[in-house]
């Protein structure tokens, strides 16, 4: 577990006190792009999968803090039904439109490629989630239609590779 910083963003490990804001997002309408909306048990299951990831996998999730205020989450997870490790993200209400996810995900991808030696991570993105598709493209990810999304998910697969690697 470690903390990353990029400009005015701090990416830090999950804390118990993050759950209320996280659950509000995962039980709300925006979670339709994250396998939800979930009930509160489902939100907790996602939260603990995120929080346990570093310990078990060596890659994991961060809470994004903008100027001392939690703004969302981003990072790598592989919960049940995910064929591959995914970098996923979610923004709390009111933090949209400032490029927070793109900056956070860039720092997390760079760190994860350096510390895990993996050659790719995917993002599972529903086709109508234009904002996340734009983020994935800004990050340099490319569509991988040969890859399989989680069972029951209607999502596209975007594949991130280390900078400079052949896409």
């Amino acid at each position: 577990m470690h903390t990353l910083t990029t400009q005015n963003l701090t990416l830090r490990p999950y804390q118990r006190s993050d759950f209320d804001a996280y659950a509000a997002l995962m039980t709300g309408p925006r979670a339709q792009h994250m396998g939800g909306p979930h009930d509160s048990d489902g939100a907790w299951r996602n939260f603990v999968n995120d929080a346990a990831s570093f310990t078990l996998n060596g890659f994991g999730c961060f809470i994004i803090v903008e100027d001392a205020t939690p703004a969302g989450f981003a990072g790598m997870i592989q919960p049940p039904d995910f064929p591959e490790p995914e970098i996923g993200w979610g923004l709390y209400d009111g933090f949209e439109g400032r490029g927070i996810i793109t900056r956070a995900a860039r720092a997390i991808l760079d760190d994860a490629f350096a510390t895990t030696g993996r050659d790719s991570f995917v993002s599972y993105i529903t086709p109508d989630n234009a904002a996340s598709i734009k983020v994935a493209e800004r990050l340099g990810a490319v569509r991988d239609d040969a890859a399989t999304p989680p069972a029951g998910w209607n999502s596209l697969v975007y594949r991130h590779t280390p900078k400079g690697a052949a896409a």
Binding site: Y14, A52, P83
Partner: protein, 193 residues
């Protein structure tokens, strides 16, 4: 059993395994006379799942499906980050074989933090569970300053009742919860070491 390992149970490889080891070393390790209690690794999940999906899991909310065992394993692993305590894998001090699991956790829906334990059939009856659970109990009072500690035990689980009683716990009928009997560990006035 590698042939049953699902994609999300993949063991970390290469540099990721190094990262996992760095984190694992940061979790508290406790030596008992014959065992070492350490943080969980992905490779422990096979034994954890075998225990909780088998008949041995019948008194601890099971037998569970492998997916249900995953939910418990991940929650107790995340607990280290979220609460500073969680699941210890208990291994034989000499040959490093996994004997079982001890935990200080707070499962969703439970009113109080819990001391839990589950050991393999091979390790049963040799005092390993007492050895490890005693250290976990003391850790709750000393390192973690818990206010209360209980074990939620199936009324038919005679072995667990005997172990909790040996550790000083007393049945607290007023706190029985969700079909289990609550055994309460008295908080020592002067913390034990």
């Amino acid at each position: 059993m590698s042939d049953t390992r699902l994609p999300w149970e993949t063991l970390p490889q290469g540099q990721a395994a190094v990262a996992v080891e760095r984190i694992g070393q940061a979790l508290p390790r406790i030596a008992t006379d014959r065992t070492v209690m350490r943080g969980p690794y992905m490779e422990d999940f096979d034994i954890f799942a075998d225990l909780f999906t088998s008949d041995r899991g019948r008194y601890v909310g099971g037998p569970l499906t492998r997916e249900g065992a995953w939910d418990d394993f991940i929650q107790l692993t995340a607990s280290w980050i979220l609460r500073g305590a969680g699941l210890w894998t208990v291994e034989d001090m000499n040959d490093k074989s996994v004997l079982g699991f001890v935990l200080l956790g707070h499962e969703t829906g439970d009113p109080e933090p819990e001391l839990g334990f589950l050991f393999t059939e091979e390790a049963e009856g040799k005092g390993y569970a007492f050895e490890a659970a005693e250290k976990a109990r003391n850790n709750a009072w000393n390192a973690l300053s818990f206010d209360t500690l209980v074990s939620y035990i199936d009324p038919q689980n005679d072995r667990a009742i005997a172990l909790a009683t040996r550790l000083g716990a007393v049945r607290d009928e007023s706190a029985d919860h969700d079909g289990t009997h609550t055994y309460r560990y008295p908080r020592p006035e002067v913390p034990e070491v």
